[in-house]
């Protein structure tokens, strides 16, 4: 069951194409990372999903509800954090949360109190006096406090210190364990890798990758450094999946793509003095997607 489904979703601003007809499916109960460089179309997609923008073409549904015709019902089940948080500066944090709670029908007082404690935020001060990070925390509480079935978070860790980021990650994992769904955008690979089950990569308004993190890892390159025992010589016969980089001071550095079993089987045939196998490195994979001048890697299965 998909919580979010879009079909050919497009958005044009005059001659400028922000989204070029994207198809996106977000499964229920997952933490779904939405990756892309600045201006790729992440925010536009999210703003369409919460009804702030109208698509030029295509359609989108959330919980099976039509995004335009049933937008109000969708928003009842969604918590949204915009990329650039702006709040009513003249209010106190408590008054703002009280207003949001009242507009949502009330009943979130206990959750507000719990989240306020989790994020360690003084909500009795005027927002005008808050730092950027405090405003971000308050906006996060406002989007989480009604325990929404779907969280749409646009770069939620911006301005948060590392400890608060960890708290947020715990909250999001907890939401996913309860069967709730999280769609969050980022341009930080590490965060997505740490947190997400699924990932979609968007570039120039097009989805260029839609996969599970595990499937991506299988396609990612591991760095392997091996040193042969003294006396061992000759040219190494590299199996399929190995990419030689360089040999330096007797250490052979190579990359490995594919199942780890193949690598260990090959290594067992060698007389090794030392070997180091690194984790799958998604950086190279993502960098290739981001670079304009490099063709995107061939899409794999999964997700």
């Amino acid at each position: 069951m998909y919580v979010i489904e879009t079909h050919g979703l497009a958005k044009h601003y005059g001659a400028i194409q922000a989204l070029a007809g994207i198809d996106l499916r977000v499964p229920r109960g997952t933490i779904f990372g939405f990756l892309g460089p600045n201006g790729a179309g992440k925010t536009t997609t999210m703003r369409i999903l919460v009804g702030l923008l109208r698509p030029t073409a295509g359609r989108a549904s959330v919980f099976g509800l039509d995004m335009i015709g049933e937008s109000r019902e969708i928003r009842r089940k969604v918590g949204y954090l915009p990329g650039d948080v702006r709040l009513y500066e003249w209010m106190t944090g408590r008054r703002l949360l009280g207003f949001v709670d009242a507009a949502r029908g009330g009943g979130a007082a206990r959750e507000i109190d719990r989240l306020r404690g989790r994020f360690d935020l003084d909500i009795d001060r005027r927002i005008r006096g808050y730092s950027r990070g405090m405003k971000q925390k308050l906006a996060l509480i406002a989007s989480l406090m009604h325990r929404p079935e779907l969280l749409i978070l646009d770069e939620p860790t911006t301005a948060l210190d590392p400890l608060v980021q960890l708290t947020l990650h715990e909250e999001l994992r907890s939401a996913a364990r309860e069967g709730r769904t999280v769609l969050f955008s980022s341009h930080t690979l590490g965060e997505v890798e740490l947190l997400c089950d699924h990932v979609a990569i968007i570039r120039r308004g097009e989805i260029i990758e839609d996969s599970t993190i595990d499937a991506l890892r299988r396609r990612a390159v591991r760095r392997v450094a091996l040193r042969l025992r003294k006396g061992e010589s000759g040219v190494l016969e590299l199996p399929q999946g190995a990419h030689p980089y360089e040999t330096l001071d007797g250490t052979v550095n190579l990359g490995w793509t594919g199942p780890i079993d193949g690598l260990t089987a090959w290594l067992s045939t060698l007389r090794l003095e030392d070997v180091t196998i690194g984790p799958p490195d998604l950086d190279d994979l993502f960098a290739a997607y981001y670079r304009d001048d490099v063709a995107a890697p061939q899409r794999g299965g999964g997700g």
């Binding site: 925010t43 702006r86 949502r104």
Partner: protein
């Protein structure tokens, strides 16, 4: 259709500004009463017999003040005074542009529009808060007149006639409110929303003011909302001019509906 949290929030946010405007309007009309009574009646009538002053008053109030022998005639000038209109229009613009165009401008609309409240409810709730605040402000002019009459002992003036004028004032301010809500619902920035309404209101003042001195402008008079706001005519006839009231309320409603239709369909850009 109505979101009470939005109505309550808007009323609370603008309460201080409203109280200040109410105090100023009422106080000004009280002082105006004292000023009128500080001059001998004959001297005032002599001034009003000067042709250009007669034309000036007629252009503002919609009828020749010398046609009136009623004490309410002079008092009704307060209902046309530029200061009163400036306060009323400034408050109307401040609230209407502050909640929709202003929220888009500040970026706070994202918070508001991702709540389970329809766009229609946001627009209607803001409009209701505006009406709940602006109508008492109009009646603040009448309250000032009542206080002034009581304090100066100028009891010959019939407040019921001034109440009719206040009804006409309410209709004119509602027309401006409808226009300003439309501008707020259409614009992305507060500045342009205020500018558009200000230009149209200013045009109304200029056409209405100049047409009595420059007859060539008379055919354009119907385009000025102030042509349908004529306190002296109400006092002369001792009756509300329902046609003018309907035109004012109808045009205000028309603008308001256009604003609603566009706001329901428009994109809300990121700030």
């Amino acid at each position: 259709m109505i979101s009470w949290p939005i109505v309550k929030r808007t009323l609370r946010d603008y309460a201080l500004l409203w109280a200040g405007a109410m105090l100023l309007v009422t106080l000004f009309v009280v002082i105006f009463n004292f000023a009128l009574n500080s001059f001998p009646r004959e001297q005032t009538e002599n001034w009003l017999s000067i042709p250009w002053i007669r034309r000036l008053i007629a252009s503002l109030a919609g009828a020749d003040v010398l046609e009136l022998s009623k004490p309410e005639g002079l008092l009704s000038i307060a209902f046309n005074h530029p200061l009163v209109w400036t306060l009323l229009v400034a408050f109307t613009l401040s609230l209407s542009s502050g909640v929709i165009a202003g929220e888009i401008d500040r970026g706070t609309i994202d918070l508001l529009m991702t709540l389970p409240i329809s766009r229609t409810a946001i627009y209607c709730s803001t409009s209701l808060a505006l009406v709940l605040m602006v109508l008492p402000l109009c009646w603040g002019v009448w309250l000032g007149a009542k206080l002034g009459v009581t304090l100066t002992g100028f009891t010959a003036a019939r407040l019921s006639l001034l109440a009719m004028v206040t009804c006409n004032l309410c209709a004119a301010v509602l027309a401006v409110s409808g226009l300003s809500m439309a501008a707020s619902g259409i614009c992305n920035r507060r500045g342009p929303a205020i500018t558009w309404v200000f230009v149209i209101v200013f045009y109304g003042f200029v056409v209405n003011f100049l047409r009595t001195m420059w007859p060539a402008l008379e055919p354009m008079a119907f385009t000025s909302f102030l042509s349908y706001y004529a306190p002296l005519v109400i006092i002369r006839d001792e009756a509300i001019t329902w046609r003018s009231m309907m035109i004012l309320l109808g045009s205000g409603l028309g603008f308001w509906l256009i604003g609603l239709a566009i706001f329901r369909r428009r994109d809300i850009p990121a700030c």
